[in-house]
């Protein structure tokens, strides 16, 4: 059973992602977001388990911008200090790879656990 195409992971050497980075990318997957809305979204998605500080958030944003995973998104009504960000194609592709990797692990784990319980 071809559960997971391991050759796909060779496309990026940055997997698996850290949890904050994964949650930030997931937050931006739907629509462009500002820094504060990313913080709140990450907190909501993780049920309050992951609460980022601004220092951590902008450290991650800086790295993601440099690696071209996200980009600045200029809104018409953007006020000073409220910069929105969105995923680039590369960022979306890497996020998809990470999701595929996690799906593979959970499917494999379910299979193994089910086999053990029989």
């Amino acid at each position: 059973m071809a559960l997971y195409d391991m050759s796909r992971t060779a496309m990026t050497s940055d997997l698996p992602l850290t949890e904050p980075v994964l949650l930030i990318l997931l937050s931006l997957a739907g629509q462009p977001q500002h820094g504060y809305s990313i913080l709140k979204d990450v907190e909501r998605m993780s049920d309050g388990r992951v609460v980022l500080s601004t220092g951590t958030l902008y450290g991650a944003i800086r790295r993601l911008l440099d690696d071209d995973w996200i980009e600045r998104f200029d809104e018409e009504d953007a006020s000073r200090g409220r910069q929105a960000y969105r995923l680039t194609q590369q960022g979306r592709r890497n996020l998809q790879l990470e999701i595929d990797r996690m799906k593979h692990i959970t499917r494999l784990a379910s299979l193994r656990v089910a086999l053990k319980e029989r």
Partner: protein, 175 residues
């Protein structure tokens, strides 16, 4: 708190501040308005988290300026990662060099202080300088620690029998 936040932002490299300081401040103002309704404990936790986040972030950015773009915020996690090769302990090597530099600076300072002290008692027998009294044991200790570290590292390198190695062998056999 806002004043402290502004001061801590100064810890970041200028280029980073120019790019992100206004945004970070705006987000912090939103957070501050958000936690104003919460209990004192929650407010304290939030403030501590922000301070530590800023200090950690500033250290990371300075490190990044020193060591290159890949040394900043880590994208890659360590979960489910099996390394099958022996890695030279870079951090240890850097720390050892830093400690050596620190000791060298301390010895130099000691020498300067010893030289600046007035010698008003000519009747006393010649006293060994701080340099000659401290240097041999310090150098000896450093040599011993370096030798012990080198021996330990050589043993680990020669054995190559960690669990990670065995896992790598197993996965190779399965292929």
């Amino acid at each position: 708190m806002l004043a402290i936040y502004r001061q801590l932002l100064r810890l970041y490299p200028p280029a980073y501040r120019q790019q992100f300081a206004d945004e970070m401040l705006a987000v912090f103002l939103d957070i501050r308005a958000d936690i104003a309704k919460k209990r004192f404990f929650a407010q304290t936790v939030c403030v501590v988290r922000e301070i530590l986040g800023l200090i950690g972030g500033a250290c990371g950015e300075h490190l990044r300026c020193f060591l290159g773009p890949d040394s900043g915020f880590p994208l890659r996690g360590r979960s489910f990662v099996m390394r099958n090769g022996f890695r030279f302990p870079n951090t240890t090597a850097v720390l050892m060099v830093l400690i050596l530099c620190g000791v060298a600076v301390a010895i130099k300072k000691g020498e300067e202080i010893a030289m600046s002290l007035p010698h008003v008692n000519p009747g006393v027998e010649p006293i060994h300088s701080v340099h000659s009294a401290l240097l041999p044991p310090v150098v000896l200790l450093l040599i011993v620690f370096y030798a012990a570290g080198l021996v330990g590292w050589t043993i680990l390198f020669a054995l190559r029998r960690s669990g990670v190695h065995r896992l790598a062998q197993l996965s190779g056999e399965q292929k």
